[in-house]
């Protein structure tokens, strides 16, 4: 019991410190609000995305190790299976850092982390996980355009990346492409967690997804895809829908976002 209390205090301490640093957005990029048509969930209509700040890089192993050190309940062997499955931090040889491959991986995106772990990390930075719409919106950008969804070269590069198996060692986060907003590696590094990864009424049987099964799901919107030729988006949505909150996957990392100044959350 005493240990639990102690742990609790530790967490409190960490997060307090993180909060104090909240106003330095050196590693954040500004994403201007706008509208776009997501592949799923909006019935083919454009949705609007409020402006937000996004981490320039996915969270690295080194950054995550620092978090774990301060929050021991997220250590590799301490974590509850409810919150992260057996492959949690599988690529770490040590309980609280990368271990053996530190020279190769410290600056690479952390993977094998669950939704709960990613969420806890962001919250302790005074941030949060991006929503699907925020993530997809930011990922539309190529090096030069905010919306490169009609750019054949950009599309093919994304498709190529999504077709390749994982490299043995993921490259450092700075080495991937920098998009229009100054955000690195949205495509080409790892898949990334989103806060509402489970918000699409998709089932594992993808061919049945074009019509909503009223028995399985209750909902107003059609679930059909808005653009059946957008294979790269299909792959992202398919990937997300294969996940559960405690899953950890060898090419699934995350980055955090932050609301812009006026934090008033409109409740209906």
């Amino acid at each position: 019991m005493i240990r639990r209390l102690l742990t609790a205090f530790l967490i409190f301490g960490t997060c307090g410190m993180a909060m104090a640093q909240k106003s330095t957005p050196a590693n954040l990029a500004q994403v201007k609000g706008g509208t776009f048509v997501p592949l799923y969930g909006s019935n083919g209509k454009a949705v609007s995305v409020q402006g937000f700040r996004m981490d320039k890089y996915p969270v690295t192993n080194a950054e995550y190790a620092a978090f774990v050190t301060k929050n021991p309940k997220w250590k590799k062997h301490a974590v509850k299976k409810l919150f992260a499955d057996a492959n949690y931090l599988r690529h770490w040889t040590s309980d609280s850092n990368v271990g053996k491959n530190a020279d190769k991986l410290s600056n690479s995106p952390v993977v094998n982390v669950s939704w709960f772990a990613a969420k806890a990390y962001c919250e302790c930075q005074g941030k949060r996980l991006p929503s699907i719409n925020e993530w997809e919106y930011a990922a539309l950008a190529s090096e030069t355009k905010a919306n490169a969804s009609k750019d054949a070269k950009f599309y093919q590069r994304s498709l190529d990346w999504y077709s390749q198996p994982n490299p043995k060692y993921l490259p450092p986060v700075q080495q991937s492409f920098r998009n229009y907003y100054g955000i690195y590696g949205m495509i080409g590094l790892v898949w990334e967690w989103t806060s509402d990864f489970n918000s699409n009424m998709l089932i594992g049987e993808s061919r049945a997804n074009s019509s909503l099964d009223r028995q399985l799901f209750c909902g107003a919107g059609a679930t059909g895809a808005s653009d059946v030729q957008n294979y790269v988006a299909f792959m992202r949505y398919a990937f997300r829908s294969s996940l559960k909150a405690n899953y950890t996957v060898g090419n699934l990392g995350f980055r955090c976002v932050q609301d812009v100044k006026n934090q008033a959350i409109a409740k209906k």
Binding site: M1, R4, L5, A8, F9, I11, F12, C15, G16, M19, G41, K80, K81, L82, F83, W115, F116, K119, E123, C124, G126, S195, D196, N198, S199, N200, M201, L202, D213, R214, Q215, L216, F217, C218, G219, A220, G221, S241, K244, A245, N246, Q263, K267, K268
Partner: protein, 211 residues
């Protein structure tokens, strides 16, 4: 022993409030003045896969604050609803009542039913209470819970629920009834409306047999 535990629970609760700050200042729990419910059973050991590992605070239809761990010690059926829902939620409740009907020979206190709202902004404890009365839900058996949006999101994720709030107030969601054992682990899930409840009933009976 008993007082000791109560004391600890209170401390933990206090800490949890502070911990909430990790997620931003706005997350102070308001229900401090109302009654707090402590877990009913002896064991404070929570197993690895128990949903009761969630440390968040919830309110029931009587505005009492509780941890999910309070549900520990008996088999629980869990479903997510929102009371302004016109189609699936009444059906989900109907399915639960159907399952209940097949559990006549089971001791009433052995099985609880938990309805969790997906729409905390609308579903206040008062609304939940009214919903329970409208549907003649036995307050001894049915607990209707609400919490902060992010706590609900976490629970939903653990229940393998898919759900999405639309701007118009409707919520698209999957229809799942989960069976939790006394420790709070998911033992069975019935997906889809109007499903044959036999498997679920058997799962419940199997659990009670083991107790």
């Amino acid at each position: 022993m008993n007082t000791m535990r109560k004391y600890t629970t209170a401390t933990l609760l206090l800490l949890a409030i502070v911990l909430g700050a990790c997620q931003g200042e706005q997350s102070i729990i308001k229900a401090t003045e109302s009654a707090t419910l402590a877990p009913t059973t002896g064991s404070t050991e929570i197993s690895e896969m128990s949903l009761y590992n969630l440390d968040s605070d919830w309110q029931n239809q009587n505005s009492e604050t509780l941890k999910l761990q309070y549900l520990q010690g008996k088999v629980q059926l869990v479903a997510m609803i929102y009371t302004s829902c016109g189609y699936a939620c009444p059906r989900i409740v109907a399915d639960l009542i159907r399952i209940e009907a097949s559990l006549k020979e089971v001791k009433r206190e052995d099985v609880g039913i938990v309805l969790v709202t997906m729409d905390p902004a609308w579903d206040t404890p008062e609304k939940l209470s009214a919903f329970a009365k409208e549907n003649n839900l036995d307050p001894d058996r049915y607990k209707l819970l609400t919490s902060k949006q992010e706590n609900i999101q976490e629970l939903a994720a653990l229940l393998n629920m898919k759900y999405k709030m639309s701007p118009d107030g409707e919520i698209a969601h999957s229809n799942i009834i989960s069976v939790l054992n006394a420790k709070g682990e998911i033992i069975h899930q019935q997906e889809g409306l109007g499903a044959d409840p036999n498997e679920t009933v058997n799962a419940i009976k199997g659990l009670l047999h083991k107790i």
